[in-house]
């Protein structure tokens, strides 16, 4: 049977992708950030998944204002890196896992989570930057990926609790898939940041540290945090953190923290990264 073995969270700032693509990761501004992911790349090499179920948000790339799905699942065989206005990132094509994606879609829809099925979609920095941070710069990605975009751009985004409960439904779906697959679930975005208006540049370290602790120890309580608290405390784009709760819902109640990294700033953003393993 397929099983979820580990959960990863990481920020997905576009400037990180540009820095990697331009070969500037050793520059003094960026070096501390990339050093923070050295452990993760080693851990990943030793714990290589067959499939990454990658929760992220599309940044007005695949979805314009014509159609805005709250939760969508990529069921295609492959996904092209998107041109977000400066040409596509020079990273490998993302290979999907259609059989598992369709299985999850059917299972969670029948569990009352109404996903949008996507059969053609370009993937933006929200998906490719986490892959680069965790896998480096391989000629092709070492595993398949199921892209799972969540709307956090157009208000209202899904609630923290909805995300947490959806994670539980995804876990149930994966564990009922017949093939023996090692699946990781990644929740990306965050941590505190605001990219717009006179309050741009907001960073809230205390909020971020509390979020780390409660995500691990009391996620069901954390999931009750209302949207306005994220915006007020963690910045208008800090709401991306609800996607980490999908990851957490898909993990065991008790998890082991393998690694944690926090760094300010990357461009406008507080970078947060966790690796969690199921205890059982």
């Amino acid at each position: 049977m397929a099983r979820i073995t580990a959960g990863v969270t990481t920020s997905h700032i576009p400037a990180i992708g540009a820095t990697i693509d331009l070969g500037k990761t050793k520059e003094p501004y960026w070096a501390p950030l990339f050093e923070g992911y050295e452990f993760s790349k080693k851990w990943m090499a030793e714990n290589k998944p067959d499939v990454v179920f990658l929760v992220y948000n599309d940044h007005a790339t695949a979805f314009s204002l014509e159609i805005v799905p709250t939760f969508a699942i990529g069921c295609a065989a492959e996904f092209q890196p998107a041109d977000e206005g400066w040409g596509p990132r020079p990273v490998p094509v993302v290979k999907g896992q259609p059989d598992l994606a369709w299985h999850v879609a059917q299972s969670v829809i029948q569990d009352d989570f109404d996903l949008t099925i996507v059969n053609k979609m370009d993937v933006d920095h929200g998906l490719t930057v986490p892959l680069s941070l965790m896998f480096g710069e391989p000629g092709e990605w070492p595993c398949t990926v199921i892209p799972f975009p969540v709307n956090v751009v157009l208000y209202p985004p899904p609630s923290g609790n909805r995300c947490y409960q959806l994670g539980k439904a995804i876990r149930k779906a994966v564990s009922s898939f017949d093939e023996d697959l090692n699946v990781q679930i990644w929740g990306t975005g965050g941590m505190s940041h605001q990219l717009q208006g006179p309050r741009a540049g907001l960073i809230n370290k205390a909020f971020d540290q509390d979020f780390f602790e409660r995500l691990i120890a009391e996620p069901a309580e954390l999931a009750k945090k209302p949207h306005v608290d994220y915006v007020r405390e963690a910045g208008s784009e800090g709401i991306e953190l609800v996607m980490w709760l999908i990851m957490r819902g898909a993990m065991d109640d008790d998890v082991d923290e393998v690694y944690r990294f926090y760094h300010v700033p990357a461009s406008n953003t507080a970078v947060g990264h966790l690796i969690l393993e199921n205890r059982s």
Binding site: S64, E84, S192, Q196, R199, I203, R232, S236
Partner: protein, 131 residues
């Protein structure tokens, strides 16, 4: 019953909600066209002519020509859509964010290096600003 907007008392922040997305629809959809290289070339060759192809208000067009991101946001633009404009100009999110704060690029970059803008005094409209 009017839609509830509990986020309206947050200073310096526009939540991209139904009202904003309705007034900003054509502005944001114009931005999406800049994801194609040939459209970027056409836009940069004659910005005014390109903007006139879209059902945008004159105010929205002028805000784009002025690269006034606060104005674009007040007219329904969302930062992830507007990112296509500054990306096509070869500029970063940090550049665009700094222009919205009234700080110079250097001041803004230094604020971020120093740990970012503190939430203290920046949670509610009317609080004393800090940083």
């Amino acid at each position: 019953m009017a839609l509830e907007k509990p986020y309206r008392d947050i200073p310096g922040t526009t939540v991209f909600d139904s009202d904003m997305s309705r007034i900003g629809y054509h502005l944001n959809q114009f931005c999406m066209t800049l994801m194609k290289a040939e459209n970027r070339d056409r836009f940069h060759a004659d910005e005014r002519a390109y903007l006139d192809e879209w059902e945008m208000t004159e105010e929205q067009k002028q805000a784009v020509l002025d690269r006034d991101y606060n104005a674009m946001i007040s007219l329904g633009g969302n930062i992830y859509f507007l990112a296509k404009i500054f990306a096509s100009d070869g500029l970063s999110f940090q550049y665009a964010a700094a222009t919205m704060t009234g700080m110079s690029q250097e001041e803004y970059a230094q604020m971020m290096l120093d740990g970012g803008r503190s939430p203290e005094g920046n949670r509610y409209i009317g609080e004393k600003k800090n940083g």
